[in-house]
């Protein structure tokens, strides 16, 4: 029992990060039907921005996080404007290949600029307390609590934006029908930019949390979480916001259970087998059937 609760806590923590990243994949897909393969690398950039903010500028974690979020939101918008926007009318494959190119650019640019070293945050960057529950058998760290709290906060903010604000309604309209949205006077390009900004900001939150949680930053650190979050978005139903959230948590929990009860070597194969099963039996994703909502 205690073991199960422990694995669920670990799974929710990991899943929360996957969900944050998956949101960006799914929002961008919902609005321009592009799998943004460079999305995972945004996470790496965010972790480095936070790392240098903390080690060089000597700021605290919160300003570092804010800096990373702002930087990555702008980077996301810039990538869309420079690399994807000129291809909006082109075949989808062209944009997809470009996305892979942007990803390679960010990864190799990172390796060239920062080297292949793994770097760690200075000790005491976050106060890491461990709390025990259920009579000392279950442990939860303050870092895990922070991750869960931030993840939930981001999700609530996103739901609010999408459902109750003007730009959120415009996002749903653009996702559904760009031409009709333009007839409402909606500037489709701005809405696409906002979508990239939001998605990249969420990935930045995830990247900083990831870096702090595992206490490493590395130019290729975005690869695996990016890929996993993409799987999570597909499992939940790509293009569906609640699907990305559910898919992220689902994947995190599965990974924790497989590592906890099976072995951690089985973890990645299980994830990709799951992906194949979902693609075979529910290609629209677990939440993809009755939900009309895109974005």
């Amino acid at each position: 029992m205690a073991e199960l609760v422990q694995q669920l806590i670990n799974g929710l923590t990991l899943g929360g990060i996957y969900a944050l990243i998956a949101l960006g994949y799914t929002m961008v897909y919902g609005i321009i039907q592009l799998i943004n393969f460079a999305h995972g690398d945004i996470l790496m950039v965010a972790a480095y921005v936070a790392f240098f903010a903390i080690t060089v500028l000597k700021v605290g974690v919160v300003p570092a996080l804010v800096l990373a979020v702002v930087f990555c939101a702008l980077l996301g918008v810039a990538i869309e404007r420079i690399a994807y926007k000129p291809l909006r009318q082109a075949p989808r494959l062209a944009a997809l290949i470009t996305a892979i190119g942007v990803s390679l650019f960010l990864e190799n640019g990172g390796l060239w600029l920062l080297g292949t070293d793994f770097r760690s945050f200075p000790p005491g960057t976050v106060n890491n307390y461990t709390y025990t529950l259920l009579g000392g058998t279950v442990r939860i760290t303050s870092m895990q609590l922070l991750i869960l709290a931030l993840t939930l906060l981001v999700m609530v903010i996103l739901q609010y934006i999408v459902h109750y604000t003007k730009v959120g309604k415009a996002m749903r309209a653009v996702a559904y029908d760009k031409e009709a949205a333009a007839l409402m006077g909606i500037n489709v390009d701005s809405v696409v930019s906002v979508t990239f900004a939001l998605g990249s900001a969420f990935a930045a939150v995830a990247g900083v949390l990831w870096g702090l949680y595992y206490n490493t930053v590395h130019p290729l650190m975005g690869l695996m979480p990016g890929l996993k979050a993409f799987v999570a978005a597909v499992i939940g139903g790509i293009g569906i916001i609640p699907g990305a959230m559910a898919g992220g948590f689902f994947l995190g929990i599965i990974e924790a259970l497989v590592s906890g009860y099976g072995s951690s070597e089985l973890r990645d194969p299980v994830v990709f087998i799951l992906l194949i099963l979902v693609l075979l039996f529910r290609p629209a994703g677990l939440l993809g059937k009755d939900t009309v909502e895109k974005v």
Binding site: K169, A170, R172, Y176, E179, A182, M184, V292
Partner: protein, 234 residues
């Protein structure tokens, strides 16, 4: 109010409008008739800047609409109800209408525009929380028109509003169009339902493969042998 002068529009190599010239005066209902593929929708899209003409002029209120964005056209007072309704099925009725007023900042103006839409379409008010995709075809058309009215346009472009509707509903839609016009909105109406269109319109144009081939008052067009032969079945 609106004038097109020798407008040419291409889709890649396809020459869809081959010099369209027409005029709509303040307060009128003008209908644009023509067979499938004649270029009626293309004409409306050129006016609302979804398409940019390769040559020719579109003039609204004395301003040339040259390289303007769709957003600017809406802001100038032209709203376009596209062919096939194109409502946002994944949003509620009310959200669709709110998006119609996207460029309005004043909440009171939005509220009063909304009241006006409810007055034209009481059925929509009852269904305001419903997803637009669950509305019937007629209700969706009403929503599409209502959404365009949220900007209180001075010129309303309607692309086949009677498409796919039962005869009774067609009558209702056309009487609403007349009512909207009576309240001061100028209308450019594209229709395949020539009979009904000529009943409500003041004037009309007939478009054939990208060219205006006939123009005149509604009576003249109703009486014209060509129109009768081509569209009125005798």
């Amino acid at each position: 109010m609106l004038a097109l002068k020798d407008v040419h529009v291409y889709y890649g190599a396809i020459h869809a409008l081959k010099g369209v010239t027409l005029e709509v005066k303040e307060g009128e209902i003008v209908t644009l008739l023509g067979a499938n593929g004649a270029g009626k929708s293309t004409t409306l899209k050129a006016i609302s800047a979804l398409l940019q003409p390769r040559s020719g002029e579109i003039i609204f209120d004395g301003c040339r609409l040259h390289r303007v964005s769709a957003q600017e056209v809406v802001r100038m007072g032209i709203s376009h109800v596209p062919e096939g309704r194109r409502i946002f099925a994944n949003l509620t009725v009310l959200e669709n209408l709110e998006l119609g007023a996207y460029l309005r900042r004043d909440r009171r103006e939005v509220a009063s525009a909304l009241d006006e839409v409810w007055r034209h379409f009481p059925r929509l008010k009852e269904r305001q929380k419903q997803l637009a995709g669950t509305l019937s075809g007629g209700e969706q058309q009403m929503l599409a028109i209502g959404r365009a009215l949220m900007m209180r346009p001075r010129l309303l472009l309607l692309d086949e509003p009677s498409m796919g509707l039962a005869p009774l509903l067609v009558k209702e839609i056309f009487s609403i169009i007349q009512e909207i016009n009576r309240r001061g909105t100028t209308i450019l109406l594209v229709e395949q339902n020539v009979h009904s269109a000529l009943q409500v319109a003041h004037r009309g144009y007939v478009l054939e493969t990208g060219r205006i081939v006939l123009a005149g008052s509604a009576e003249e067009l109703s009486g014209s042998e060509e129109v009768k032969k081509a569209y009125l079945g005798g």
